[in-house]
């Protein structure tokens, strides 16, 4: 069998090296990689989180969600003219591709033109077509972007790792003349894939990706940063949560993606203080950028009535959702933003102007809900449900079949709404169907995270509720899938969107827009999203944490490039070999 498999070409691509475990950091990889030899980051089949965007590709800038700062990496600065329709990127000198060729403005111009010429099908190409009218090389280290319309967030949204990734610059000397749709960017004999990161691809199969440190990495050569401490990096898929947890108990993995509290407690039981998470004690979690909400189709009666939506809000006990669905590892939410430090001033702003007293989102008050329903002509029928004109008040809350966390939330929510007199039920839908139904408006309510976007400023998320995104039911909506239409809110958000980041005029616009949003409550905020991400400290230390927040801890994002430089080996204990 083994010989047959080898003959069939099912090989671990690449040469054999016996990594020293003590010099290797092993990261968790969620799920198998179906197309492991695809290293073209712009095609739909490519995985990016198997180390491609963490170990191989380097970003221009990184947004630090803890400090709100945009930190330079390959880029040094990116500034705009006053109308914000011309942006100038200045790049770090001395950067080289890992085949030794210089990384220049030509590569940036080539990449953007490639996306413009092949848009909107390639990843990020639609966005470039939407914004970039023309790109030009000023000199070897300077690129100028002429935008089709002003965009104060051009640097933040596309050139900084804000959520997950950013524009990937490609080496012109390799990609020129290749079909970007079919080029796999993998040719081990030629040393491909070529990027600028401090590691080179060593070998891989569908579940294991191994990278070896590039001793000639440009950053060390120029004195910008020393080489990262790990000689090798691995991303390994262990399948189910049980297996992943067992792998960490076994010591064969150093970092895990999100796990449940039960699994983390098992880790603590077996490994004690050798494992750590974002916080030392409960809730242990780092907050994901996409808070969870009960989202209505605001065109469907009776959910098109803001008072009915508020009545539903009064039926919801968020503390119970956190306790039952999250085992205490999340926090109630009363807005659609992630609770990140850079956004805190915006939270305080609406707290201090009394918005939550006028609009008490956290008030769990079934009696208030009853009063609203009765004022709308509903009465309790013999089954205990509210009824009007012979029709029971019912709602089907749909959930994404792969989102176990959201299904748990939905189950608690259904119970609460049932107790309050709403005939609620939960239905799982296949991922594609759920997304489709959401975009086309074919739903009454679902548990979603569709207001995702803001990390350090409020506009990105607030604009997702903009009436300009409204589409008739049956036509695909890119944003505002809730089909909520409020022209006053939209005008305020549009005004915010035209101002530069941090402009003081944003504050007042923000306050007024939030007042409208809270009054209307088109989506009901439920909880913050959470990620419980364990790290093992027996071999490697200086992992990010709330006490040491140099970067967010999600090891599948492109921002992991910074973490790789920060982690350090644990010194061998005297008299004991590692």
């Amino acid at each position: 069998m083994a010989l047959g498999l080898a003959a069939a070409g099912c090989s671990l691509h690449g040469p054999k090296h016996d990594e020293d475990r003590a010099e290797t950091v092993v990261f968790d990889l969620e799920g198998r990689v179906v197309a492991p030899d695809l290293w073209n980051p712009y095609v739909p089949g490519a995985r990016l989180d198997q180390g491609l965007q963490q170990a191989l590709i380097e970003p221009m800038f990184l947004l630090n969600t803890e400090t709100g700062e945009i930190e330079p990496w390959l880029g040094l600065s990116m500034t705009s003219n006053e109308p914000m329709d011309v942006w100038t990127l200045t790049m770090r000198p001395g950067v080289k591709w890992n085949d030794g060729a210089p990384f220049t403005a030509d590569d940036v111009v080539f990449t953007i033109n490639l996306l413009l010429e092949n848009g909107p099908s390639l990843l990020l190409s639609g966005a470039m077509q939407q914004w970039v009218a023309r790109v030009e090389k000023v000199d070897d280290l300077t690129v100028r972007f002429h935008l089709a319309k002003p965009n104060p967030r051009f640097k933040l949204d596309y050139w900084s790792v804000k959520i997950y990734n950013s524009i990937y610059i490609l080496p012109e000397h390799i990609w020129k003349g290749k079909d970007p749709f079919t080029f796999k960017n993998y040719e081990p004999g030629k040393g491909w894939p070529v990027f600028t990161g401090p590691y080179k691809l060593d070998r891989f199969n569908e579940t294991t990706f191994v990278y070896r440190r590039d001793e000639q990495w440009w950053g060390a050569q120029t004195g910008w940063k020393p080489l990262p401490a790990p000689k090798s990096l691995e991303w390994v898929s262990h399948g189910s949560e049980e297996m992943r947890t067992a792998a960490m108990v076994d010591g064969s993995i150093d970092s895990l993606c999100d796990i449940t509290l039960g699994a983390y407690q098992a880790l603590e039981h077996f490994r004690g203080p050798e494992v750590m998470a974002w916080t030392d004690g409960p809730p242990y979690v780092w907050l994901d950028p996409c808070p969870r909400a009960l989202e209505f189709n605001c065109q469907h009666p009776p959910w098109n009535d803001k008072e009915i939506r508020w009545a539903v809000n009064y039926c919801i006990d968020r503390d119970m959702i956190v306790a039952v669905a999250y085992e205490g590892t999340s926090a109630p939410s009363r807005h659609f933003f992630p609770a990140y430090p850079p956004l805190e001033r915006y939270f305080r702003m609406i707290e201090e102007n009394g918005a939550y007293e006028r609009h008490p989102v956290w008030d769990y008050n079934p009696e208030k809900a009853r009063a609203i329903f009765e004022s709308k002509g509903y009465h309790r029928n013999r089954y205990g449900y509210f009824e009007k004109d012979g029709q029971e008040l019912s709602v089907t809350i749909t959930t994404h079949e792969a989102a176990i966390e959201l299904q748990r939330v939905a189950q608690v929510l259904v119970e609460q709404l049932q107790n309050a007199g709403i005939d609620a039920s939960n239905r799982n839908e296949a991922g594609g169907t759920w997304m489709d139904n959401g975009a086309l408006g074919a739903f009454d309510a679902h548990i979603g995270w569709m207001a995702c976007g803001s990390m350090n400023e409020p506009w990105s998320t607030m604009d997702t509720f903009n009436a300009s995104w409204m589409m008739p039911e049956g036509q695909r909506a890119q944003f505002n899938i809730w089909r909520w239409k409020n022209l006053d809110y939209s005008a305020l958000v549009d005004a915010m969107g035209r101002l530069p980041l941090g402009d003081p005029r944003i504050d007042d616009l923000y306050r007024r827009a939030m007042e409208i949003w809270l009054d209307e409550l088109p989506a009901i905020p439920l909880t913050q999203a959470r990620k419980l991400l364990p790290f093992a400290q027996d071999r490697w230390t200086n992992w990010p944490s709330k006490q040491n927040p140099y970067m967010h801890p999600c090891t599948w994002w492109q921002s992991t490039c910074k973490m790789i430089h920060e982690i350090k080996p644990v010194p061998p204990k005297p008299g004991k070999e590692q």
Partner: protein, 336 residues
């Protein structure tokens, strides 16, 4: 007799062609009846990775055109059948630019290797246990074997897989708990790699063998009991034939025919096999691909995988149909 044999062969070949055509046609229709748009799902995933994308409708139209989904349905069907005839399974929609045939080629050897061996082991062990259980002269101690074998059939393979991992991978540390071979092994024609593959394949194979063996035993036992009461068995005993010859040539040979049919169907359907076992053991087979195809509504991947399944099952049935006359002379003479 030669004429009837040719007619039999032609009938079976015609049935084979009809089965394959019908199967392929259904696999063209069924994914398109399912809710959800594969291109929209793929674009939604791209948009998720791309931050703010405000022209996703254009992206969807561009990809729809690239995959030919903007053509009339009849044209899509004609192209699909033509490509199927030429074994061209096309590009995956969810994993573009991967070709379905390349994806299948990467996963199939593992699935076929694991599941064929596991199915054969399960068949042989279960059939042997069942034959002995249904044979009056078998040792009494063997009667305990069937309940024990059946006991495990009520456990799904993936559950037993977890138990085996707990006992033998994490407890005793005899076997690895994941993957098809060691991370530091270089695949090739070498003993180290072969040992590594067998070492890694033991637990997944055991999970399948132990949980399916009882079905074979149960079927074989029933057939052996039925066979042992037939007239020809009594005659053979009366003639004084040796028990071993009676068991093998008169008992097992006649009782095994339905088992062989079931085996053919099992082998043919192996590609649809054991998604969860592959998942639990992180085994790089093709069942996982089929699951991904269904989840992503990837028409090309579903059609490619099920085409193989359809052709596999139909071919296995054809082979059994053609082999039956060799095993049972009554079929050769057109008696059944």
């Amino acid at each position: 007799m030669r004429g009837s044999a040719i007619a039999y062969l032609l009938r079976r070949l015609a049935m084979y062609a009809l089965t394959v055509w019908l199967g392929l046609t259904l696999m063209f229709i069924i994914p398109r009846l399912a809710p959800g748009d594969p291109i929209a799902a793929m674009v939604a995933r791209l948009a998720t990775q791309a931050g703010r994308v405000e022209n996703s409708e254009q992206m969807i139209q561009a990809w729809r055109a690239r995959f030919g989904l903007d053509a009339p349905l009849a044209q899509q069907y004609a192209r699909y059948m033509w490509n199927s005839l030429h074994f061209d399974l096309g590009y995956s929609m969810a994993y573009f630019p991967m070709k379905v045939e390349d994806m299948v080629r990467a996963g199939m050897p593992w699935t076929l290797g694991l599941l064929t061996i596991a199915t054969m082991l399960s068949f042989l062990a279960g059939t042997a246990i069942g034959a002995l259980m249904g044979w009056p002269a078998a040792p009494r101690a063997l009667r305990l074997a069937l309940p024990a074998a059946l006991c495990f059939t009520s456990i799904p393979p993936f559950m037993l897989g977890i138990l085996l991992i707990y006992l033998f991978a994490f407890g005793l540390r005899w076997f690895p708990f994941a993957d098809a071979y060691g991370h530091n092994e270089v695949p090739g024609m070498n003993l180290d790699f072969a040992i590594s593959v067998i070492h890694h394949g033991t637990l997944p194979a055991a999970a399948i063998v132990v949980t399916t063996m009882g079905f074979w035993a149960l079927g074989m036992r029933a057939m052996m009991i039925a066979t042992s009461g037939d007239d020809y068995m009594i005659l053979a005993q009366a003639k004084g034939l040796r028990p071993r010859r009676l068991f093998w040539m008169y008992g097992v040979r006649n009782a095994i025919l339905p088992q062989v049919t079931s085996l053919a169907l099992s082998i043919g359907g192996i590609a649809g096999g054991s998604v969860l076992v592959e998942y639990i053991f992180t085994y790089p087979g093709m069942c996982y691909l089929l699951y991904q195809g269904i989840v992503n509504n990837d028409y090309a991947l579903i059609q490619g995988m099920t085409s193989i399944l359809i052709v596999g099952v139909a071919t296995a049935v054809l082979i059994v149909d053609l082999a039956y006359p060799l095993l049972d002379p009554r079929i050769r003479h057109g008696e059944t």
